[in-house]
Point group: C2
Chain length 105, copies 2
DNA sequence: TCAAGGTATCTTGCTTTACAAGGTACCCCG
DNA sequence: CGGGGTACCTTGTAAAGCAAGATACCTTGA
């Protein structure tokens, strides 16, 4: 899969999933992998960026199935960021599809 | 506009436009700018990459309105590349939209 | 006991590509 | 001759996806 296409949209995908329910990184990798190829080397740095920018918070939960999990929770900032990115995404689709159809505007 | 979103799709847009009719770089910048923000610093290097990869050819045409124009023409390789990228794009939209809706698959 | 495999985290280095900024040069008009 | 529109190109920077590798927890089975 064209990894360039994912640029910018993975942030949207992660925020959308975390907005539904708190998730840990490994879970996100598996969840997103059901729809598109993605690896830990992509997701973990992304979660760090999102946390640094205040769009998500995190907390640790012990697990019986392995090492502790770092769960992520969306913040108010994250919720409005999700709103913004979502709008941007659908606008972008329209723009590209118009170009592909040969329309103007 | 989120410049990360454009990654990978600008190549598709350019090929789609050039597939309709031969274009020169400056014209492509203006044409695409009707739909999304894009600059010469993006398009000219892209055209060079496309030519290097054999998806487009170019030829010079004198102009009364300024310096000579470098027109681009799609090749057979470019046409099938356009087909491939187009499919990839629509598949990608579906994947992202499924994730946003919370569907599986 | 200890190796293997699943779970879970993180980092380093590479690569691609959008873009700002700057440069060159043509043409016409005032 | 100077300004503005047209047209080309390059350099350097930044963002972000990903391969690869490191660490460590837990369970299962030989």
């Amino acid at each position: 899969m064209n990894s360039q296409l994912k640029r910018g949209t993975l942030e949207l995908c992660v925020l959308s999933i975390v907005n539904e329910h708190d998730c840990y990184g490994y879970e996100l990798v598996n969840r997103i992998s059901e729809c598109m190829q993605v690896t830990e080397g992509t997701i973990y740095p992304l979660m760090k960026r999102l946390k640094d920018s205040g769009t998500i918070d995190s907390y640790i939960v012990e697990s019986q199935e392995g090492p502790p999990r770092k769960y992520y929770k969306i913040t108010d900032i994250g919720a409005s960021e999700l709103e913004r990115l979502s709008g941007e995404w659908f606008e972008f689709i329209d723009s590209v599809n118009k170009l592909l159809k040969g329309d103007k505007g």
